[in-house]
């Protein structure tokens, strides 16, 4: 009831935004209404998870096509993703109340924001393929319109075109996947699909198209190309939702098809997903390391985190197929935990980036610096977010990576030799991605928030105070990062209830040692307790403070920076983002991105400046998409001739097509 009411409120708000015109109060009201509606959905999701795996209420509404009713159903998996989506949605909506007045084209954002939220929630609740795809398109198109909101910039228009193409491709793949599962009978309800038995080839195609369709929306390599273009182009609170949450809705689709509707996916797909996930994790973070645009950096980091979660899902499939439900549950709990975590800290980081942009008007790292002193709230929240995304204990990012690593370490026990040798390689990729993520966020945070300001706008950031609604949402999300890391067992217990129907086994990650200890498999296998680390760490911190102050002096003197005696006041002498990542560019960039450095030195006596330029290529564009684009253009040029045929020519074509179709039918009719 609460769900239906909240969803209707979202649709009404969208209508209100269109009708009520463009006064500021309208935008604020719409965002406040969105916050209230998402809160309702969040409460509904949490209640369902809290009650436990009791029932899964369903409802049939007379919507959509005349001969087909719309089916909705709320089970544990939907409820979990509803919590993920609406938690971020509440935060982004409240943030939007203060943020929307900074937007250049707010009229083009407000009407679509509620529709976007509606679409995402409806995908999670849909219980037939038709509603699922309609809601999926609501989600895609509403976000596409918001990407296009600042349509005067050519860059944004380009991003929107790429996004539209990739979204269309994704929906097409999902449509095929559902079509194959529905079979010749055309029963589009999920309940019927669960019952259906698939032959080998259709079963393979169902998984392939599901991975392509959901993977393109989630941003898996090599289908990620639209993501770093489109996510940053939208206003920051929408970017937060697109990056933090919409990718999760895509993963929901993948999980729903692979674990629920299809049911038994062979282990080879698990292996393939682990390879794709590992590649996404490493490539995503490498791209992020070399970005200068703050929001694009965050978008690439989303590719990495989606990859990490997909490693967990792939491992879950492999374990499940090998008849190890406990380990499958461990891997899936790890993957889902990472999905929850990423939605929290990525939303937080995008909101912080939005606060930085509205205070400075600058989103390039090379124009920022010294913001922690000028924006202490945003700076502190972003620090916690950066530490969490770098998988540092005791924050939440570490717990999920720990769970996935623990599951990976059991991976060589799988019966297939490909897995025995493959799992350590994926483990190395995951470890590399984690370490590079820490580097990436030390760089991003250190350049943007620490040091001395690199531009006048950054130096004057304190003249534009961040509105209270923005500050409080960031603080709440930062607190959540700490909480989700400090009480991991409470979270894993809720997640094991979600995973139970997927593996058919009730599995508690804390089974062996009890409440604050995560001890998967058995107590001697290795354990972790964020709760204990927080408590002992705080005690040691206090002892360190008391010791240092007690044994010595507490005096502090402010002075100029020492810098080995080089007194200078030029902020340009600081390290920049480019120089920070230069050693890593030499190590990884030369092979992956074919990075080339060229130095132009003027002749002695000339007055022109020396120049160091770096050229990097994006391998995915050069090797994959450019050839496809060329092929499409080539075919389009040839097919174009058909537009200029005579009437006789068209008649001939129609006739031959008809004959061809009849021949096909005749051939199929033969016994």
């Amino acid at each position: 009831m609460l769900i239906v009411a909240s969803l209707s409120v979202l649709v009404l708000l969208s209508a209100l935004a269109v009708v009520a015109g463009s006064r500021e109060i309208t935008h604020r009201l719409v965002h406040a209404g969105c916050a209230a509606a998402s809160l309702g959905l969040l409460v509904a999701g949490l209640t369902h998870l809290g009650i436990g795996p009791g029932g899964s209420p369903s409802i049939v509404l007379p919507l959509g096509l005349p001969w087909m009713a719309a089916h909705f159903r709320l089970d544990n998996l939907s409820a979990l993703f509803m919590v993920v989506v609406d938690l971020a949605a509440v935060a982004a909506s409240i943030y939007g109340i203060g943020y929307c007045r900074h937007l250049p084209e707010v009229r083009r954002v407000t009407p679509f924001f509620p529709l976007f939220l509606f679409g995402m929630n409806a995908v999670l609740l849909a219980d037939d393929a038709f509603m699922f795809l309609v809601a999926w398109e609501f989600m895609s198109l509403a976000s596409w319109l918001m990407v296009l909101s600042d349509h005067k910039s050519a860059e944004n228009r380009h991003a929107a075109v790429i996004y539209l193409i990739m979204a269309a491709f994704g929906t097409f793949c999902l449509l095929t996947s559902f079509g194959l599962m529905a079979g010749a009978g055309g029963t589009y309800t999920f309940a019927a699909m669960r019952q259906a038995e698939l032959a080998t080839i259709p079963a393979f195609l169902v998984v392939l198209t599901a991975v392509l369709g959901a993977g393109s929306k989630a941003g898996l390599v090599p289908l990620h190309v639209w993501l770093p273009l489109a996510h940053p182009a939208a206003p920051s609170h929408v970017s937060a939702l697109m990056s933090g949450v919409m990718t999760k809705v895509a993963l929901y689709g993948l999980i729903r098809i692979l674990f629920d509707l299809h049911g038994d996916v062979p282990w080879e797909w698990g292996a393939a997903l682990m390879v794709i996930g590992g590649a996404s994790a490493v490539l995503g973070v490498l791209y992020a390391l070399f970005q200068d645009d703050l929001k694009r950096l965050l978008a690439y980091s989303t590719v990495e985190n989606v990859g990490v979660a997909v490693i967990g899902l792939g491992l879950g499939i492999a374990f499940k197929d090998a008849g190890e439900p406990a380990l499958a549950a461990l891997a899936l709990v790890g993957g889902l935990y990472h999905i929850v975590n990423h939605s929290v800290f990525k939303t937080l980081l995008f909101l912080a980036a939005g606060a930085v942009i509205s205070a400075t008007g600058e989103r390039r790292l090379s124009g920022l610096g010294g913001l922690l002193n000028r924006m202490p709230w945003t700076g502190t929240a972003a620090l916690i977010g950066a530490a969490a995304i770098s998988a540092l204990p005791p924050l939440n990012g570490f717990v999920s990576e720990w769970l996935i690593l623990q599951a990976l370490f059991k991976g060589p026990g799988l019966p297939h030799w490909a897995m025995k040798f493959g799992v350590p390689v994926v483990g190395a990729m995951l470890a590399l991605a984690g370490a590079l993520a820490a580097t990436c966020f030390v760089r991003a945070y250190g350049i943007a928030f620490l040091g001395r300001p690199r531009s006048l706008a950054a130096a004057r950031a304190d003249l534009h105070p961040t509105p209270a609604s923005m500050r409080w949402t960031m603080a709440a999300l930062a607190l959540l990062c700490i909480l989700l890391g400090a009480i991991p067992v409470t979270v894993t217990d809720a997640l094991s209830a979600v995973v139970q129907p997927m593996t058919g086994l009730h599995f508690a990650v804390s089974a062996d040692l009890g409440w604050p200890w995560l001890s998967p498999v058995s107590s001697t296998r290795g354990s972790y307790s964020g709760t204990m680390l927080v408590m002992v760490g705080t005690a040691l911190f206090a002892i360190a403070v008391v010791l240092a102050h007690g044994l010595g002096t507490r005096r502090v003197r402010r002075a100029d920076a020492w810098d080995c005696g080089h007194r200078e006041d030029i902020p340009e002498t600081q390290y920049t983002g480019q120089s920070f990542s230069q050693p890593l560019r030499r190590v990884f960039g030369t092979s992956v991105f074919l990075a080339r450095e060229t130095v132009e030195m003027p002749e002695p006596g000339e007055r022109s400046p020396a120049r160091l330029s770096v050229r990097m290529i994006d391998p995915v564009w050069v090797w994959l998409y450019d050839p496809i684009a060329r092929a499409v253009n080539f075919i389009a040029d040839r097919v174009n001739r058909m537009q200029f045929l005579t009437v006789r020519g068209y008649l001939l074509m129609m006739f031959s097509t008809l004959v061809f179709m009849l021949l096909v039918v005749a051939w199929r009719q033969q016994p």
Partner: protein, 315 residues
């Protein structure tokens, strides 16, 4: 009750011992180089002297700069508290396995690197950038070592790995040797020792760790230095414990076993510290862009250690 006392003893042992181990390395190095060298107790005096001095903080520094030494020190300390030194029977040990220990050292590195960038000088950024380059290769190598040890012993907890090695069910394994080599290389890198970094350099262009803490003084510097000392002790205890655990007291051991364990721990630490000094005297520091070769080698050794387990099984 007795377990809590043992844990408390460990908490203070690692901090009290750390400066002595560092002083010992310096002394052995001095002797090898033909100098008399300072007393091994000199680091205690240095730290005390630094604590007495006022802390000078740059105008452009933020609050993070002042918090970082405390966070760094307590993160390294916390990691050192949780690994077995003289006994494997620690109350807090289940709070973190090897993966979490690596990550706790990562916390210390994260804060030190950020503190290096906080003042906004060229050297701070240089140190942070190079430190993160080293870490982004050393940390995966360390995780691969953990991976192979966990496959061998069935656990990622140091105390369980030690129990497994002591049980004698492990023969001479190629994987153990490769993992040891990788762990030593990681330890050299993580502690900023030659050939990766020179702890006693003050030549700007060769500094890594020193460049990050260049702006620190007084008690802040004392804490940063102490964190480095505890980290060195931690790695020596880890190498000595995992690969030569003999003498360590196990669960339910009496006072005598504890005393033996303590003696064995001290003997192993000083032997390994002497070995480090010999190693450092024997080789030269490498160029920054050779780090990737060195640490990539460590990563490969870790991966090979894992894969060799199956090769030896299959043959």
């Amino acid at each position: 009750m007795i377990e809590i006392l043992i844990q408390a003893a460990q908490i203070f042992l690692v901090v009290a011992l750390a400066p002595l181990v560092t002083g010992w390395v310096r002394l052995v190095k001095a002797r090898l180089q033909g100098r008399i060298g300072a007393s091994p107790f000199q680091p205690y005096r240095d730290l005390y002297r630094l604590l007495q001095q006022e802390a000078v903080v740059a105008h452009s520094a933020s609050q993070l700069f002042r918090a970082a030494p405390y966070v760094t020190f307590s993160a390294v300390w916390l990691a050192a508290v949780l690994i077995p030194t003289f006994t494997t029977d620690l109350v807090l040990a289940p709070a973190a396995d090897l993966i979490a220990l690596v990550a706790l050292l990562g916390v210390a590195r994260f804060w030190t690197a950020l503190a290096g960038m906080d003042v906004g000088t060229a050297f701070g950024g240089l140190g942070a950038s190079r430190e993160m380059l080293i870490a982004s290769l050393a940390e995966p190598a360390m995780l691969m070592v953990t991976f192979s040890l966990s496959l061998l012993s069935g656990s990622t907890a140091p105390s369980q790995i030690i129990a497994f090695v002591l049980s004698g069910s492990v023969g001479i394994e190629v994987s153990m040797g490769l993992a040891l080599a990788a762990l030593v290389m990681v330890a050299v890198a993580e502690n900023g020792r030659i050939p990766i970094d020179n702890p006693s350099t003050h030549l700007e262009l060769t500094m890594v760790h020193e460049a990050m803490v260049l702006e620190y003084s007084g008690r802040h510097l004392a804490l940063m230095e102490a964190a480095g000392m505890v980290r060195l002790t931690l790695f020596l205890a880890l190498i000595g414990g995992l690969f030569a655990p003999w003498g360590i007291a196990q669960a339910g051991a009496g006072v005598t076993a504890m005393a033996v364990g303590l003696g064995a721990f001290l003997a192993k630490s000083f032997a390994l510290a002497s070995a480090l000094a010999v190693f450092e005297t024997g080789i030269a520091k490498m160029r920054v862009f050779r780090y990737a070769d060195f640490l990539g080698g460590a990563l490969l050794l870790g991966l090979l250690a894992t894969i060799f387990l199956y090769v030896s099984e299959a043959v």
